[in-house]
């Protein structure tokens, strides 16, 4: 019944394909964030252009994850759906809260020792960090749902 999960001939009703989509999405994410970072560092157009295919993978993966998680976004969920959604959001929260805590601790040390530790120095660095964090926090709960749901029936 979830025919919208057939994308480019790939059946994302299968758990294995959804897991591949998660991996591809985060590879795309790393490449996009990395390209933004190094592009900002070296002001290089080729690096920025190399980010385009990665951005395409990221956007497609993001769309797939959204479609997978869509049935879990309504307000009339049954007990299993609520359990799946709560578990995914809790795991995502744990990771995001952990990363935030690490970033704050590191920032605190870096401010005390600015000559030894790196701190973001340009607007592009700050933008890359903010966009990287934002994309991660938006996609992570959906990725957990896509990863853990068993095969859907045709």
């Amino acid at each position: 019944m979830r025919s919208n999960l057939l994308v480019y001939g790939i059946d994302f009703r299968r758990q294995s394909n959804r897991r591949l989509a998660c991996i591809a999405t985060y590879l795309g994410y790393l490449l996009v964030v990395g390209s933004l970072w190094t592009g900002a560092e070296f002001k290089s157009l080729p690096i920025a252009l190399a980010a385009l295919p990665a951005a395409l993978v990221l956007v497609t993966g993001w769309w797939v994850l959204n479609e997978v998680a869509k049935p879990y976004s309504g307000d009339k969920l049954d007990e299993r759906e609520l359990q799946v959604r709560n578990s995914a959001f809790f795991r995502a929260y744990q990771i995001i809260a952990g990363l935030t805590a690490l970033a704050l601790i590191y920032g605190n040390f870096a401010l005390e020792h600015p000559t030894r530790l790196w701190l973001p120095s340009t607007d592009r660095h700050m933008q890359t960090l903010i966009w990287g964090f934002l994309l991660l926090s938006i996609t992570l709960p959906h990725a957990f749902i896509a990863w853990q749901d068993p095969d859907y029936e045709a």
Binding site: M1, P71, L77, D78, E79, R80, E81, P150, E153
Partner: protein
């Protein structure tokens, strides 16, 4: 004194697919009657999801059977085997 052997895993076995087939109910029909998503029925039948006690009671009321006739901590013996076994004993 020996303690009774208890299944310590989380697996819960059920006869939902058999009972549904006996009553000619589709997954969607059963899902509507129990107030859950049809996918949840599929997950329960495959043993991928253990229902809450409340949902188990609703299933019990719907099928008109005690909970232990629908759900079990031990694998169910096939119904045919149980019925045939009883007939053999009574003969």
């Amino acid at each position: 004194m020996t303690s009774p052997k208890v299944n310590s895993t989380n697996s819960l076995y059920n006869r939902i697919s058999v009972l549904r087939a006996e009553r000619n109910l589709s997954r969607q029909d059963l899902a509507d009657a129990l107030g859950v998503n049809y996918q949840t029925i599929g997950y329960m039948e495959r043993g991928d999801y253990n229902p809450s006690l409340e949902l188990a009671f609703r299933a019990s009321e719907l099928f008109g059977l005690p909970i232990e006739a629908i759900f079990s901590r031990q694998p169910f013996r096939p119904l045919s085997e149980q019925v045939y076994g009883k007939n053999q004993k009574s003969e």
